[in-house]
Symmetry: C2
Subunit: 147 residues, 2 copies
Amino acid sequence: VTQAELQRLSVRGVTLERRPLIRDDRGSLSVRQVGAGLPFHPLRYFLVQDVPAGTVRGEHAHRVGQQLLVCTRGSVTAVVDDGASRQEVVLDSPELALYMPAMTWGTQHTFSAGAVLMVLASDAYDAGDYVRDYQEFLRLVRSGRRA
Amino acid sequence: VTQAELQRLSVRGVTLERRPLIRDDRGSLSVRQVGAGLPFHPLRYFLVQDVPAGTVRGEHAHRVGQQLLVCTRGSVTAVVDDGASRQEVVLDSPELALYMPAMTWGTQHTFSAGAVLMVLASDAYDAGDYVRDYQEFLRLVRSGRRA
């Protein structure tokens, strides 16, 4: 059994976990499940790919939704921000998963050619869960409210 | 809003659904959520990659576990078998998802170079959920039991 390594970032509640691939002569496997590398029950996934060089994605927060970001192929740089602290993480292996709690402002950039970003989300799609304006995000964070 | 296409295979309960990518100038996105392309609440995911040419994976059934197979990059051929009927499906796009109910014998082969297979599973890992012997699988199917 391989050991997971958990790193707490300086951004509130955000963690980066490395969970080593299980390799054998039939290929490599990365696995996460609720309670072991997956801190919530996912209701939705999305895959982001074919992202042109220079593109910036994300640039929003979720009021209540939690997300787990895994770059399944290639690499991408993820920025996480809680309104007081900001940090950049390079996701360049399926071993790595970036957990973003609710009210984390997230941006992704520098997708490598062929990169595939998998995101697991705790909630079904709801347009009302998105905060798309950074100034509004800061007001919400500072007031301690989400709506 | 794009329309999903659902195909029922000749294998009991198995479906193949195509859900078109959402494309714009920032890349392409494929999304599924519980009730919309994801027929169960996932508790676990795994990613299979770096599979050498000629390798056959799977070759087991789950007594109660359900799975959704999506090839996020490249292509793979999936074989599904209910003990009476067998069918092969080429998963060559993240638009496609293959749903396998419990007690489906599954095999995957012909992974392309760079292929990444994502599997969402309805249950946490449990070695007792696996049926690894095909003759036992047939006995279970014919007796209508799972244990």
